[in-house]
């Protein structure tokens, strides 16, 4: 059996790196009372972005502007959810997405269709800003 270093073993197009599993190495794992733990004071790589959307005036303004800029035409191909567009989109894949996320969930489980590994990479062109920041920061850390 080939030993694949875990930090590189992300399947399904998963991105990996020490940064992504740091919290597990530092916050999970067996702790034995009789042992002491090395001090984590001064650890800098533990900085974690808040990526979920936070309610604040700045966020409101940013999202209002983002909505304003949304290209409803090209966006339709990526996320065919606008009711007025749904009827025109006939590709497979439009089906689940035009519904609520919860009703889509059941289909996700039952469908279980194959997706080529490279398939996931197609989304990388339109990653949100936060994600790109993470990637570049991760590179810096690995240097």
């Amino acid at each position: 059996m080939t030993v694949v270093p875990a930090q590189q073993g992300g399947g399904g197009g998963g991105t990996s790196g020490l940064y992504d599993v740091l919290e597990l190495v530092l916050d999970r794992g067996l702790v034995i009372d009789a042992f002491v733990r090395v001090s984590l004071v001064g650890i800098e790589i533990l900085k974690i972005d808040i990526r979920v959307v936070v309610a604040s005036v700045d966020t409101y303004l940013r999202f209002a502007e983002a909505c304003n800029r949304l290209d409803l035409e090209t966006g339709a191909n990526k996320s065919p959810g606008l009711p007025e567009i749904v009827g025109e989109v006939t590709e497979s894949g439009a089906r689940g997405k035009s519904k609520g996320a919860l009703s889509g969930a059941a289909e996700t489980i039952s469908d279980a269709f194959q997706q080529a590994r490279s398939g996931g990479d197609g989304q990388s062109e339109s990653k949100p800003r936060a994600r790109r920041t993470t990637t570049s920061r991760r590179k810096e850390e690995q240097e």
Partner: protein, 238 residues
């Protein structure tokens, strides 16, 4: 000199390759301390051990390599014992408990999944679901972006809708993947993802798990999923 402990394995765990090294600079050789039916994977601890990248990676690598040939209970990074003898004492005292955990984690690996939203895609979705939001957005556009108040009004409602969706999608990620896993453990909090969940997956079923992730990705392109694994089962040792 104190002893650095990487993990606990069965006494019958295959010997580590001789060159296996762990934390420290230069890296300390890793050895097995056997007691009863258990073996602790340890090395001498460097004098000034700190959570540096190289050492964190060394900890992780020792556990990954040892875990690939037999069950290992991964210790949290930075566990130090005063000496080898104290490690033996702890193992002897709790032998039965650790053997039970080793049985439970036999042939299992951890996959950690983190999810965020593709912002543009999720904005499309919330607008698609709410005619009022679309109308507000159109009104702002017609007004060349809208006034400060108009922007706040739209933005506040959009943010609320996105937050609601984050909650829903967090649950969705967990539900969609738990069928392909033996156990689920929420990741450490405060990390700011809409989902940060670890799954315990049978080594023989990792392909199924990865397939489930791919299916989820395909079905919900507004989700950005980051998968890490196979990992030592950090989140499932207790």
């Amino acid at each position: 000199m104190s002893t650095y402990v990487y993990g606990i394995a069965r006494g019958s765990h295959p010997e580590l390759p001789e060159q296996t090294t762990g934390v420290g600079n230069p890296p300390m050789p890793v050895r097995a301390l056997r007691v009863g039916e258990l073996a602790a994977l340890v090395s001498d601890a460097p004098e000034d051990l700190r959570p540096k990248r190289r050492d964190l990676l060394a900890h992780q690598t020792v556990l990954s390599e040892a875990g690939a040939v037999g069950a290992v209970l991964p210790m949290r990074f930075g566990s130090l014992s005063s000496d080898d003898e104290s490690v033996r004492t702890v193992l002897a005292e709790r032998e039965k408990h650790y053997l039970e955990r080793l049985d439970a984690l036999d042939n299992k690996v951890e996959y950690n999944v983190k999810a965020t939203h593709d912002e543009e895609a999720v904005l499309h979705q919330v607008l698609a679901e709410d005619a009022e939001l679309r109308a507000l957005n159109e009104a702002n556009r017609a007004a060349g972006g809208g006034t400060y108040e108009q922007k706040l009004r739209l933005g506040e409602r959009v943010v609320a809708a996105v937050q609601q969706r984050e909650k829903r999608d967090g649950e969705l990620v967990r539900q969609a993947l738990e069928a392909a896993a033996g156990a689920v453990s929420p990741g450490p909090e405060s990390s700011g993802w809409l989902a940060n969940v670890s799954f315990l997956v049978d080594r023989d079923r990792t392909a199924d798990f990865v397939e489930a992730v791919d299916a989820l990705r395909k079905e919900h392109p507004h989700l950005v999923l980051q998968v890490n694994g196979p990992l030592p089962p950090y989140s499932f040792v207790e």
